[in-house]
């Protein structure tokens, strides 16, 4: 379970998160929507400990992410992260991309790591691209590679930061399909997304973030069918 209490985050003098409270239960799929610059991506980075926080706390399965005593590298193994820019490692083949972290972070044997990498690549539909270098893959394939890379660490949670925003429109579908599949398998997911269709169909809950706070959080039916706050109504009408 992820528990966020009174989270505040500053970039210099600029406050990007202004007191966020949020619980994500195991097995839940939470989508976070909102305008660019509202702080949604920053929230993910804070959960993964990639950005320091100034106030409040984030606990993952009871462990404080930002406590000095926390072994963050260890904790991060529980949370797979997929970025907007897929960030495949260009000097490694698809298989090596996925096998590297299990090998050097989890200390798996080479063979074990290769097996799990091949399995995860198969899982996202890249079973025939094991020895391809990222430069030979399309954006959609590279993003699926990134998902496989995160899954190979066998995380409890998956964090998606606008995983389809940088893709050409015709490549969005294959990545969303991979994410849907994960959700069906019961993975706990937090997805910052601009894909309203995905948020509506796949999520258990949707959070609307505006200027650093969670303005409204509810089931997709309520959020999209009966929005309460004016800000959310305006946001939804703008994107339609």
């Amino acid at each position: 379970m992820i528990e966020i209490r009174g989270l505040e985050k500053f970039f210099g003098n600029l406050q990007v998160l202004k007191g966020v409270d949020l619980d994500v239960r195991k097995g839940e799929v939470l989508s976070i929507i909102g305008a660019s610059g509202s702080g949604k991506s920053t929230l993910l980075y804070c959960i993964n400990g990639l950005e320091p926080i100034q106030k409040g706390s984030i606990k993952v399965d009871g462990t404080d992410v930002h406590a000095k005593s926390t072994n963050i590298n260890h904790l991060r193994q529980k949370m797979g992260m997929v970025f907007q820019q897929w960030n495949s490692f260009p000097h490694l083949t698809a298989l090596e991309n996925v096998a590297l972290a299990p090998k050097i972070v989890k200390g798996m044997s080479k063979a074990q790591a290769r097996d799990i990498a091949a399995k995860q690549l198969e899982h996202v539909g890249l079973g025939d691209k094991l020895d391809a270098y990222p430069s030979a893959l399309s954006g959609g394939q590279q993003q699926r590679l990134a998902i496989a890379r995160a899954l190979a660490m066998e995380p409890t949670y998956m964090l998606f930061d606008e995983a389809t925003s940088a893709l050409d429109p015709e490549l969005v579908g294959e990545v969303l399909d991979a994410m849907r599949l994960l959700a069906q398998e019961g993975m706990t997911m937090i997805c910052v997304t601009h894909e309203m269709g995905f948020a509506r169909d796949v999520s258990d809950r949707v959070a609307f973030v505006h200027e650093g706070i969670i303005e409204e959080i509810d089931t997709p039916t309520e959020i999209f069918g009966a929005p309460k706050s004016d800000l959310l109504k305006k946001f939804l009408s703008n994107i339609r």
Binding site: N73, Q85, N87, P90, H91, V105, K106, S135, R149, A150
Partner: protein, 220 residues
């Protein structure tokens, strides 16, 4: 016009000596490059991530290495340090000066290489649970290495060419050996002509080797 009689025989007789000296040249260049790469890496990272005296020292090193003649640097490690009571052998003087110079030039190449890698690569590595050290050694540095591979090759050639300055501090690498042999026989032109050919060959071999190695190393 050509009333000069070329005498190649004494030179050709001494070619084994020259080749042996060429091996010394190559050895000095390789050692200096290895030291230069390691120090250059430290200098680049220091200039990028630290502040205060460490950064100042790194910057001064880089700028002095790049903005003064290599010969000046050689003299400094020779009789400059000698004045401070540090007496080094010609071998050590040449290796020190070359390492100093290479480190300065390579540091700038490394800095450019690091800056060419998107910071998101580092984030992605950390998000997988890799430590800072693992992220650098497994993800960042292999990519930087490809970017700086050509500059390193060029610097290697420079190191070979620069090592010829050794003859000015009495070091018997290829140039020093040539000078010593030439002054014994007064066949200066012939000796240095052959030496020029050897240098040319060494440089070409390095470049060809580098190209072959690149084909093996960089598959992506």
């Amino acid at each position: 016009m050509f009333d000069y009689n070329f005498h190649w025989r004494p030179v050709l007789k001494n070619i084994p000596d020259l080749l042996e000296a060429a091996a010394v040249t190559l050895q000095v260049a390789v050692i200096s490059m290895v030291i230069g790469i390691l120090i250059g890496l430290v200098l680049a990272l220091t200039r990028m991530h630290l502040s205060g005296p460490a950064r100042w020292i790194a910057s001064t090193w880089v700028e002095v290495a790049r903005n003064t003649p290599a010969l000046f640097q050689l003299f400094f490690f020779g009789f400059g340090l000698g004045a401070m009571g540090v007496h080094l052998s010609p071998y050590v003087i040449v290796v020190s000066a070359l390492s100093f110079n290479c480190a300065g030039y390579l540091a700038e190449n490394f800095r450019g290489g690091f800056q060419a890698i998107p910071t998101t690569q580092f984030r992605a590595a950390r998000s997988l649970g890799m430590t800072v050290w693992q992220s650098y050694t497994r993800i960042i540095i292999p990519q930087v290495f490809r970017i700086v591979y050509h500059p390193i090759t060029n610097q290697m050639v420079w190191a070979v060419l620069m090592s010829s300055l050794g003859m000015l501090v009495g070091f018997r690498e290829l140039s020093g050996e040539t000078q010593a042999l030439a002054s014994r026989t007064y066949r200066i032109f012939e000796y240095f002509a052959v030496t020029a050919v050897i240098y040319y060959a060494v440089v070409k071999i390095i470049l060809a080797g580098s190209r072959l190695l690149a084909m093996r190393l960089f598959r992506y």
